[in-house]
Symmetry: C2
Subunit: 190 residues, 2 copies
């Protein structure tokens, strides 16, 4: 299975660019480490990490075109929060182009940007690996790294709550799933 996935390396690199591709490799490695800590299937973490940004097409028009091609409706929230499109589309490409059948892996790709209520451990791991891979650098990243190896739910809350503050500061759209997730993990840890 793993071999199957990695033969798409060039195709994915061409779609998302070298820099973004290097990020996906770091997310994959971080996800494997977290999977080990939390006794989550490492192969699933590896695949989900490797594929999480497989649809991160920089050109927004191309991204929309690809979404249409694969039947992803981007009206509603995805139109207001276009930074989420690649995650939803990535989940579709993982299934249709790279033959990933495992629902948990597909959901980990789909929700790696917004989060959602009641995530599986694999979903949390991909969400957190994306934010904590070694080259990430933002205020609070060290605390998030610390939390992510100690307590997935606490790390989820910390990450989501900070993201919401950041989105409010920047006056950009806040996806409802993210608030529901933030409230959900708040309840888990408080």
């Amino acid at each position: 299975m793993i071999d199957d996935i990695f033969r798409y390396e060039d195709e994915i690199k061409n779609r998302i660019g070298e820099k973004r591709f290097q990020h996906t490799l770091r997310v994959k490695d971080t996800a494997i480490k977290l999977a080990r800590i939390y006794s989550v299937d490492e192969e699933k973490a590896e695949i989900a990490g490797f594929l999480h940004d497989c649809a991160k097409i920089r050109d927004i028009e191309l991204l929309k075109q690809k979404s249409a091609e694969y039947g992803l409706n981007i009206e509603g929230e995805l139109e207001k929060a276009p930074q989420v499109i690649h995650a939803y589309l990535g989940s579709i490409l993982a299934q249709k182009l790279y033959n990933v059948c495992d629902k948990d892996t597909l959901n980990a790709i789909k929700y790696h940007t917004t989060g959602r209520e009641n995530m599986s451990d694999l979903e949390k791991i991909i969400f957190l690996a994306d934010s904590t891979e070694p080259m990430r650098n933002f205020e609070g990243v060290d605390k998030l790294r610390e939390l992510s190896v100690k307590d997935l739910d606490m790390a989820m809350y910390y990450s989501l709550n900070n993201t919401i503050k950041m989105l409010a500061d920047k006056n950009v759209y806040i996806v409802i799933d993210s608030i529901k997730a933030r409230n959900f993990y708040r309840e888990m840890v408080y």
Copy 2:
């Protein structure tokens, strides 16, 4: 109509206490001023302002008991954000005890704490009068006062966005209606 409402002054004062009652009078006056600016029915603004906190019972057990008595279901979000209960209950009391029939006035009472998408001008005025009455004192209140007499939608966005940041900072539950309202007014002003 106005005379009818004011004869409940003592009843309301007894329910919510002198200090809170003085706040409702200031909100009423602020609401009348805003109604004048935005050509909104001043009598409705006066009634909604006067009654907006008519159910603000400080004792949480008593508040829950009163909610049950008037058939207000406080499971779900109201349980997680008990500071909202008084607004929903207030709208019910306004109708059942104080004979307010006007739907817009009842909604202005109901949504004065959370806000919601697509509010009427009266709803916005009560929401903003509650935050900007002369004794209110918090970071940003002067800017909010300024905005509230210039542009209701801009004031709504500023207020909701700041509230969300504050709730995130305090790690408390964020009501979904407030995020939807914040996103809605963001779109109106950006």
